[in-house]
């Protein structure tokens, strides 16, 4: 009972924050609502026994990526007048939402999901903890992990090169 309650509140918050985000004019407002959405999402991860992932969500996404985005927004120092032409036009947003609903949501909700019977399985103790994740990484996914470090390196160098004033 309680978990259903928690789920619905968190889900509602997530959806509302998401809708808010795509309709904001000011990017800072958008970023803030985004952080709110991430918070709700982290809560949802927690209900799914994914403790490690929920922490990572807050730390990396909300605390890292969003901060970066806010830094860049502030760096560009846009005047409210500059932001006016980029207002969200309700017509298009609604249209896009409707299109998305009909092409993605409706099929999934009404065609795919009713036919699938997913049930929560019995979880091992320690499911979702940092130890379990670590074990998984360093046994099955060691190679992608190493490649990931390369990807991050490339991203750093790429960002530097792209943002330089003089090449």
């Amino acid at each position: 009972m309680l978990e259903a309650f928690v789920f619905y509140i968190l889900a509602a918050a997530l959806v509302i924050f998401g809708l808010l985000m795509i309709t904001r004019t000011n990017p800072i407002s958008g970023a803030m609502t985004m952080v709110g959405a991430f918070g709700a999402l982290a809560g949802l991860y927690a209900t799914l026994s994914a403790s490690f992932v929920s922490i990572i969500q807050i730390l990396v996404y909300a605390g890292g990526i969003m901060v970066l985005v806010i830094f860049v927004i502030m760096l560009l120092n846009m005047h409210p007048n500059d932001l006016k032409p980029m207002k969200a036009q309700p017509f298009w947003v609604v249209l896009a939402l409707l299109a998305g609903v009909t092409t993605i949501l409706a099929p999934i909700l009404f065609c795919v999901l009713p036919n699938k019977d997913f049930t929560w399985s019995e979880l091992t103790p320690g499911f979702g903890t940092l130890t379990a994740v670590g074990e998984k990484i360093f046994s099955d996914f060691i190679f992608p992990f190493e490649v990931l470090s390369l990807v991050l390196l490339t991203a750093v160098i790429g960002a530097l090169v792209l943002a330089k004033r003089k090449l």
Binding site: A96, A99, T103, I104, P107, C111
Partner: protein
């Protein structure tokens, strides 16, 4: 009454060599054509006598073969010879076999055509000497002979049409032979255009025949005769008569023949006296079994024939060009032939066709000789007294004159013209009972005029005093033998050719009539309106009329030369109309020609250029441009729109995969 059983007893004999008759001239044409081409490109140098030898050889050998075959055939006249050459068209149920048939009619015709052709070929070798187009001329002449023989020997309307078109085309080539002079080219064009108009009728007839009978073969059509009602037969016969009128220069399609005198004189002799113009008469004779089913059309043919005879004779009275007189005379005599076949007297028509061929060819060749002697002078007002200076040619011409006027009983066209007039008078007409008399008297009047204008021509050219240029007079000389001897040969034969059809009424055997009778028997209406004893009386009547014509002409032009001037003064209006040839050409120009030109302009200008070319191309261009503009709208430059496209595409794919 008409019985079909007679025809069902015919047995056909297979022949392997009929094709030779037509193939020899074709070979000659091809060889001459190739040689001309090679000589024109300076590959070879060909002496003129080579062309002449090839052509004359082809014509003469064709004659020899025809004569041989015909003599053999005469022994069994009721068994036509047939040669099936090849399957021409096979399309479902439509089957046309390219067959040649030698029956009584075609046999007589091929001998007649090849003989005249041979003589005229020999004549041409001398007449066309020195002409730059010597080889081309003989190639065309041989090609013409081939087409004519194909026409005559055809067992099929379609094969006949092949020859029909061929002779029309060759006549165009030969009339416009000296095409550097625009007037000659125009004359050639006129001939073929009028022929073509007639051919439209021919084709209409062909289509109807096919629709009703499903076959073009003469023998099959004969067997199918019961399938034609009077109305359908009338329409078909009318269509074919229209074609024949174009080919054989009857009203209203005769206007090309006088203009056709622009071609070399031997061409006029061969094509426009003896052979091509007779194709129309031959066609009607071939389709005799249809024409007897359509009395209205037969009557129409007779009426038009006799009216043309009279009409052309009146125009010939005032012509001043020697060849034009002979041209109108040809039209007039053709009218007689049509009169003959119009009263279903097909033997009479063919008889006159043969005699006319001989004496008209003789007259044309003699005229050509005269023109040659006078260095190209054709106006008879500038001739006169030539009998003394070019005796051989003059005698030849006079022989032809005797034949055409019928002044000497039993000679020349006497019997043939007479038979036509007799049949016209004595065959009761199912449409109108007074028609035979009308036809007879108009025919008699035309006969009178024929005698008159021919005598006028003879007097003005050969008798009296010379009225031409002095210079020409000085160089006046007889033509070479190769030109004068054919004239004499034809002249003499035209006198005696009439003897193949001496009527039984005066004790003759009428060989030609009896020979052709089995073929035409069932299609000939009984001419029993008058007792046979009356026939010699009619012959006497025509003889007197001819004498009257000759005598009056002699009076007007020789005895009292001033008479013609006085007559012209008295009848200026009539003279103007006759001089203007009844203004028929002008009338046609103002109506038909202008209309045709206007339609052609409209189609070419407004329809094809304006509509098809300009409009359609414009439409295409505009359409493509608009389409391009429309598609261009999709390129907005905004990335998010392109993203939307991608998303839409992905969604579509997913849909398709899921379903």
């Amino acid at each position: 009454m008409l019985k079909l059983e007679h025809f069902q007893n015919i047995t056909y004999v297979h022949s392997d060599w009929l094709w030779l008759i037509a193939a020899l001239p074709l070979l000659g044409a091809v060889i001459n054509g190739l040689l001309t081409l090679l000589a024109a490109r300076k590959v070879l140098s060909i002496k003129p006598w080579v062309y002449a030898a090839v052509a004359c050889g082809a014509a003469i050998s064709s004659f020899v073969v025809s004569w041989e075959m015909f003599s053999q055939f005469k022994q069994t006249p009721n068994s036509p010879w047939v040669q099936e050459l090849f399957n021409w068209i096979e399309s479902g149920a439509f089957h046309v076999s390219f067959n040649l048939e030698l029956n009584s009619l075609s046999g007589v015709m091929i001998v007649f055509v090849t003989f005249l052709a041979s003589v005229i070929h020999l004549y041409s070798a001398s007449y066309m000497k020195g002409d730059a187009g010597f080889g081309r001329y003989f190639a065309y002449l041989n090609l013409f002979l081939f087409s004519m023989l194909m026409l005559v020997l055809a067992q099929d309307l379609l094969v006949l049409f092949l020859g029909w078109e061929g002779v029309g085309f060759c006549s165009y080539l030969l009339i416009g032979f000296w095409f550097e002079d625009k007037a000659n080219a125009e004359a050639g064009k006129k001939a073929i255009i009028l022929n073509r108009i007639g051919d439209a009728g021919f084709i209409a007839g062909l289509l109807m025949v096919f629709a009703l009978a499903g076959t073009f073969n003469f023998n099959d059509l004969l067997a199918h005769k019961q399938g034609f009602t009077e109305i359908t037969a009338t329409i078909i016969c009318l269509c074919f008569f229209f074609g024949a009128a174009g080919k054989s220069a009857q009203i209203p399609l005769y206007v090309w023949l006088p203009d056709a005198m622009a071609g070399p004189t031997p061409v006029s002799a061969l094509i426009h006296a003896a052979t091509m113009v007779t194709a129309g008469v031959y066609l009607i004779a071939r389709l005799h079994f249809l024409y007897v089913l359509a009395p209205w059309v037969s009557t129409l043919i007779a009426v038009i024939g006799v009216l043309t005879a009279l009409f052309a004779a009146t125009i010939a009275l005032v012509q001043n060009d020697i060849k034009k007189v002979l041209a109108y005379s040809t039209i007039s005599q053709l009218g007689y032939m049509f009169l003959g076949v119009g009263v279903t007297s097909y033997e009479a028509g063919i008889f006159h066709l043969i005699t006319h061929g001989f004496f008209k060819a003789c007259l044309f060749l003699a005229a050509g000789s005269v023109i040659h002697s006078l260095r190209g002078e054709q106006d008879i007002r500038k001739m006169g007294g030539l009998l003394k200076h070019i005796p051989v040619t003059s005698v030849g011409f006079l022989l032809g004159w005797i034949a055409i006027t019928g002044i000497l009983p039993t000679c020349g066209g006497f019997f043939s013209k007479d038979e036509i007039l007799w049949k016209a008078l004595s065959t009761p007409n199912p449409i109108s009972s007074v028609l035979p008399e009308i036809l007879y008297f108009i025919g008699l009047a035309a006969s009178f005029l024929t005698a008159f204008y021919m005598t006028r021509l003879v007097i003005l050219v050969f008798f009296g005093n010379y009225r031409g240029d002095q210079e020409v007079y000085e160089h006046l000389h007889e033509s070479p033998r190769l030109m004068t001897w054919p004239v004499l040969v034809l002249g003499v034969s035209s006198l005696f050719i009439g003897w193949i059809g001496v009527p039984t009424a005066i004790g003759g055997a009428n060989e030609l009539g009896k020979f052709l009778d089995p073929l035409f028997h069932l299609s000939t209406l009984e001419s029993n309106a008058l007792p046979h004893s009356l026939e010699p009386m009619l012959m006497l009547a025509s003889f007197l009329v001819a004498c009257l014509g000759v005598g009056m002409a002699w009076y007007v032009y020789s005895f009292k030369p001033a008479t013609s001037k006085n007559l012209s003064k008295m009848f200026t209006g009539v003279k103007k109309v006759l001089d203007g040839k009844y203004f028929v050409d002008e009338f046609y120009n103002a109506t038909v020609v202008r209309l045709a030109k206007a339609i052609a302009q409209w189609v070419s200008g407004w329809l094809i250029e304006g509509l098809l070319v300009n409009r359609l191309v414009e439409l295409a261009v505009k359409g493509v441009t608009r389409l391009g503009h429309a598609v261009k709208q999709a390129q907005v430059g905004f990335v998010r729109v392109y993203l939307a496209y991608i998303a839409a595409g992905a969604a579509l794919l997913i849909y398709l995969l899921l379903h």
